[in-house]
């Protein structure tokens, strides 16, 4: 049961996005995220996709009075599983919170694909979030609150990606072809 969906276009080839995704943190738009760790990673021999399982660590962002009740304010964790297939040019991620997971579960899914209208130069990001409270899908009252929060954070996530992409581009003095189909250029449109 979807609470929220969104679509966004990046004016960069899929390969640039795929690299930026691994360098997303730290960034000024998501200051709460302080840690990312790889739990496992391997190339799936059946399709050549890179499969990664990570744990994302962040701060609560709650007022200090909440700490004695909820515990360590720096201890908010999420589990992220992803598959990157460079041949098919698909990058999927699924993240779910670990902390408080038995009370409220936010399951977020992202997929980065070459944009169907301009697969050489543009990438489309489709996101959706499903929220369940104590195993029951969220409806009505909670939905608008969560939708606004998820939407606001997703906006920051996209802005974060744009920021990271610019950092990646600035850091490159020369680039080889990333793939047979795509030549990246240092002359990008301003984002």
């Amino acid at each position: 049961m979807k609470v929220w969906t969104s679509e966004h276009v990046f004016n960069h080839p899929w390969e640039t996005i795929a690299q930026a995704a691994w360098r997303k943190y730290p960034n000024p738009m998501n200051p709460a995220v302080w840690g990312t760790d790889v739990l496992d990673r391997c190339v799936d021999p059946t399709d050549g996709a890179l499969v990664t399982h990570r744990i994302i660590s962040s701060r609560w962002g709650l007022p200090s009075w909440a700490s004695p009740i909820l515990g360590d304010p720096s201890a908010c964790y999420a589990s992220e599983v992803s598959r990157v297939n460079p041949r098919e040019r698909v990058f999927r991620l699924e993240t779910q919170n670990l902390t408080f997971g038995s009370h409220i579960a936010v399951d977020e899914r992202l997929v980065y694909l070459p944009h169907p209208d301009d697969p050489e130069n543009k990438t489309i990001l489709r996101q959706e979030a499903v929220v369940t409270v104590r195993g029951v899908p969220v409806t009505n009252f909670m939905e608008s609150f969560l939708t606004n929060t998820i939407s606001s954070n997703a906006g920051k996530g996209r802005a974060a990606m744009e920021w990271v992409i610019n950092q990646v581009i600035k850091g490159l003095s020369s680039m080889d072809d990333l793939s047979a189909q795509n030549r990246t250029s240092l002359e990008y449109d301003a984002v």
Binding site: K2, T5, E7, V9, E15, A18, Q19, W22, R23, Y25, P26, W34, G35, T36, D37, V38, L39, D40, R41, C42, V43, G48, L50, V51, H53, I55, S57, A75, Y77, S79, V81, S82, R83, V84, P86, R87, R92, E94, Q96, L98, G101, S102, A105, D107, R109, V111, L113, H115, P116, D117, I124, R126, Q127, E128, V130, D177, L178, S179
Partner: protein, 82 residues
């Protein structure tokens, strides 16, 4: 960026540097051999597992998993293209 275990942060940074370079220069260009960074990953992973145990973090608590099931290939419906 740090590691969930402070003692693993240096190992994490070494591994991440290796991975970023491999991902861009090899993997995206079709080279699937991931042995280059494997030794760094092994040491780093072990450190993280220990840190998770110490902090009592259980990553297996997550129930919903789409990747690896039939649902994986479902692409969320798109709105009209811009």
């Amino acid at each position: 960026m740090e590691s969930v275990g402070a003692e693993c942060t240096e190992l994490k940074r070494e591994y991440d540097a290796c991975f970023i370079s491999w991902f861009s220069d090899k993997f995206l260009k079709g080279d699937k051999d991931d042995s280059v960074c494997a030794p760094l990953l092994e040491v780093y992973k072990k450190c993280v597992q220990n840190a998770l145990k110490e902090k009592n973090i259980n990553v297996d608590e997550v129930n919903i998993r789409v990747l690896g099931t039939d649902d994986e290939n479902r692409i969320p419906p798109g709105k009209s293209s811009p």
